[in-house]
């Protein structure tokens, strides 16, 4: 591994509940993601994997420990407009067309919109011809493409994806995984993907981190050996199946018991 892009150093996060109790979402997380690495965070719902992503996206601050991106606070990267995010909810602005949505980070950063960059991204995610369309006219998969294009607009230092395909049907999701791999290969940007799909994590990532349920802890950290570019056929290989089984067992320990 080369230099660290995202580092979590003994990070814990607890939330105060309405009834006065504390909910510990994460406890003592140590995680290092290398520059240009694609890491998938896999875990049951409520394990705090989205919290890790939100810490990196400067949307939360850790209760204890330290989060840094390329040696800096996430907040300072966010202020410098160096973060790219996409969520399960595409979060495209309904009053803007696709071009303007992809161009939004330029405007938020107070920069002049670079139309050739925006058009290049729209082409990269395969939305040529839909520049003037509104998000509600697009399918779920197309909205997510636009959302990923927006995340990439300013060539961010890290790309943070929180269940970006979680609301899509299985077939579209498979297609979007192929698309994301292609887009990522073209950009080679440090990427953190939160997902609960084992197939998706294995197909896309260089490394898969498996987390346990509450409080969230890292229980597995597996390097994925398949060469890139990965073809869909990789999902039919025995090695892929073995890893799927291994990770599924890790996710649901009660299934592992005889």
């Amino acid at each position: 591994m080369t230099e660290a892009a995202i580092r979590l150093d003994r990070v814990s996060k607890s939330f105060a509940l309405d009834n006065g109790k504390q909910l510990t979402a994460l406890s003592e997380i140590d995680l290092t993601i290398g520059k240009g690495e694609f890491v998938a965070l896999l875990g049951p719902s409520g394990c705090g994997k989205s919290t890790i992503l939100r810490l990196a996206a400067a949307l939360e601050t850790p209760s204890t420990g330290r989060v840094s991106i390329e040696g800096r606070e996430p907040q300072s990267l966010s202020k410098a407009h160096r973060l790219g995010v996409a969520f399960q909810d595409h979060a495209l602005l309904p009053w803007l067309d696709i071009f303007a949505n992809v161009a939004l980070p330029f405007q938020v950063a107070g920069r002049k919109v670079d139309p050739s960059r925006v058009n290049e991204l729209i082409a990269l995610v395969g939305l040529e011809g839909f520049e003037k369309a509104r998000s509600r006219q697009l399918s779920g998969g197309m909205r997510q493409r636009a959302s990923i294009a927006r995340a990439l607009a300013l060539q961010p230092n890290v790309l943070l994806l929180d269940e970006p395909f979680g609301a899509l049907d299985a077939v579209t999701r498979r297609q979007m995984n192929l698309e994301l791999q292609r887009i990522w290969s073209a950009q080679q940007i440090t990427t953190l993907l939160v997902t609960h799909s084992v197939d998706e994590a294995l197909f896309l990532a260089d490394r898969v981190i498996v987390m346990s349920g509450r409080p969230g802890r890292i229980i597995r950290d597996i390097k994925i050996p398949f060469a890139r570019p990965r073809l869909p056929s990789v999902m039919r290989e025995p090695g892929f199946h073995a890893l799927v089984d291994e990770l599924t067992m890790a996710l649901e320990p009660e299934l592992a018991a005889p």
Binding site: R54, A57, A58, L59, S78, K79, A80, H81, R82, L83, V85, F87, D89, A91, L93, P94, W95, L104, P105, Q107, V108, A109, G110, R150, L160
Partner: protein, 252 residues
């Protein structure tokens, strides 16, 4: 295509409803079913269109509609401004909410005499009208400014948006549908405010015409004034419904 025929269907039903209402009005008036004080619609229309009364109506309409317009625009301006103040200064928000609620809790009718003695009597109609509109618009704008979704806010935060960018690029456009709905609902309020204000002794206007017609038992004049106000209010309400549709289609 289905949508269009559905809209057509609703339009036809609406027209039938209005036609039925006018027909019953005419019927009740013609056969004196509600006594002498309910004239048939045709009598009222003839009364309004009499050229000898043109100046009377035009003058009254000019005064009332000016009050409505001033009250409406002023109310919207103040409502949006105060709501934006609450957004920019969150500390002031609970205080503003309470103040506006208290102002609204005082009946407008009770405030009118106070305005009368406080200021020029011709300022009372636009003032009462503006007060009613202000409340509507304040409520609509504050709830609209909360309409942006969590994920939209998260995207803006992660992208490093400052408060001004967030306000003008996210919160304000997200608030537009609620604001326009408020502007639609504020149309009848603006009319009520102006007419009530005039009852208390403005020097001209349709409200004054109503009061004096009622006191002098000029039944066709009374109904004419009411018909003019109602028609104007409904027409503007309909127009704002169209604007609302347009905004909803674009901003949601």
């Amino acid at each position: 295509m289905i949508l269009r025929s559905e809209a057509m269907h609703r339009l036809v039903l609406g027209a039938v409803g209005v036609g039925l209402f006018l027909f019953i009005w005419q019927l009740v008036g013609t056969y004196r079913l509600a006594g002498m004080t309910w004239p048939p619609l045709s009598d009222v229309l003839i009364f309004i269109s009499d050229p000898a009364r043109q100046t009377l109506f035009v003058r009254a309409m000019g005064a009332s509609f000016t009050s409505v317009a001033i009250g409406y625009v002023l109310g919207i301006f103040c409502g949006v401004a105060v709501a934006m103040l609450g957004q920019v200064l969150p500390v002031a928000r609970p205080g503003l909410d309470r103040l506006v609620a208290v102002i609204h809790a005082v009946p407008l009718v009770a405030l009118a005499p106070i305005f009368m003695v406080l200021a020029n009597r011709d300022l009372t109609p636009p003032a009462i009208s503006a007060l009613g509109v202000f409340y509507m618009i304040y409520v609509a704008t504050t709830s609209g400014l909360k309409a942006a979704t969590h994920s939209h806010r998260d995207v803006f935060s992660a992208l490093g948006a400052n408060a001004a960018t967030r306000f003008f690029r996210l919160e304000l456009p997200a608030a537009l549908p609620a604001l326009v709905s408020g502007m639609k609902l504020a149309i009848p309020v603006a009319f009520i405010g102006a007419i009530v204000g005039e009852w208390f002794g403005a020097s001209r206007g349709l409200g004054l015409l109503m009061v004096s017609a009622m006191q002098n038992f000029q039944i066709p004049l009374l109904w004419s004034a009411v018909l003019i106000v109602t028609t104007a209010s409904l027409a503007l309400f309909g127009l704002m419904s169209l604007v609302e549709r347009l905004i909803y289609g674009r901003f949601r």
